[in-house]
Point group: C2
Chain length 207, copies 2
Amino acid sequence: MQDPRINDKREDILDIAERLFAEQGFEAVSVREISREAEINIAMISYYFGSKEKLYEEIIKRKLISYKELKQGVNAFDTELEKLMFVAATVTQAFFKNRNFQKIIFREMSLNQRTHMADYLIEHMHQNFQFITDIVKRGIRKKEFKPVEVELTVMSLFAIIRMYTTSGTMICKITNKNSVEDVYDEKQRLRLIKFLRDLFTAHLLPQ
Amino acid sequence: MQDPRINDKREDILDIAERLFAEQGFEAVSVREISREAEINIAMISYYFGSKEKLYEEIIKRKLISYKELKQGVNAFDTELEKLMFVAATVTQAFFKNRNFQKIIFREMSLNQRTHMADYLIEHMHQNFQFITDIVKRGIRKKEFKPVEVELTVMSLFAIIRMYTTSGTMICKITNKNSVEDVYDEKQRLRLIKFLRDLFTAHLLPQ
DNA sequence: GTCTATATATGGATAGAC
DNA sequence: GTCTATCCATATATAGAC
């Protein structure tokens, strides 16, 4: 741990394994493949992380967004709509940046494998969710928002960002782009955020 | 094939394997487990389906919704909004009924495994998608709808239904339900459809 | 059609040399 | 820290008896 190159190497392995797990799923990736791609000896996976599963857990835990980060940013805004839009933009940015990670997370939450991991993720997601429902509920109480279905509203926000983030090949085909990378450039990110603003403004604000 | 009981047995195996694949993912399920759960000899999987992968392909291909079915139902409605709402209700019903199947489909589309299968699914999804974007485009042309982002609008519709369908444990926690089954009863289905109507009416119709 | 037994491959993990 | 060699479990698939 004292040698920074060791931490770099650890991070390398985590990055490479993250990509492989996102592309193929946990079971389909062998530690042999990870070690080959990372150009390390196969025994080093156990040496660094203990096991394939512990490596996987470390990948999952290192990038989870804390609702505390959201909480701080939100304070800069006055209206509940602007708070919600800040959250939408922050989540979109984080999801765009960590697409492989998000693929892993959402796949893991839909599986009954490694239930301690799924439970952990659901609890984490639930906290972020609660934080956002509170914004919407406050908006309704203050009559800034219409009396919408709060849970379905917040779920929709996540659903849209998530589907856009994890369905690159599909979006690519639908929008006639040449490369999946084009789906996730700055322009498209701003386009998605603008769309979310329009959609949720129409949904939430009284006319 | 002449004996109906043989087709019943085949369907039994397909149903049981579908559930296991949905819960655990393709690689994590062994043919041993399928044969145990279906109470058949392990060799019968190869005998009936040829291989584990061919069994999987049969599970995937047997329940895909054809856009032709949507096409017929849609003709009964006059406005583009009602056509779109009919599609939303039909898709919701189909997804609620075949939740395990949908889990498999969406997981498969996000994986780079079995690319011929993913390509096939993306092509299929793309056709259904095209059919729905046409409805929205027509609505915009006829000035029934505002000039919204068509692709993102249709993607959002799928995203919401999909997330609701495949995130039972999460929804269960958020809505304080006791059992995952309660999330998918008739009442909740109608609630989701009403929500979609409200959301997309506000989004699409000029005020 | 059904079963047992087995061929064959590949997986994760580690002991022990360096 | 790094590597080779190997252990051992488990996987799919099938040959061949019934």
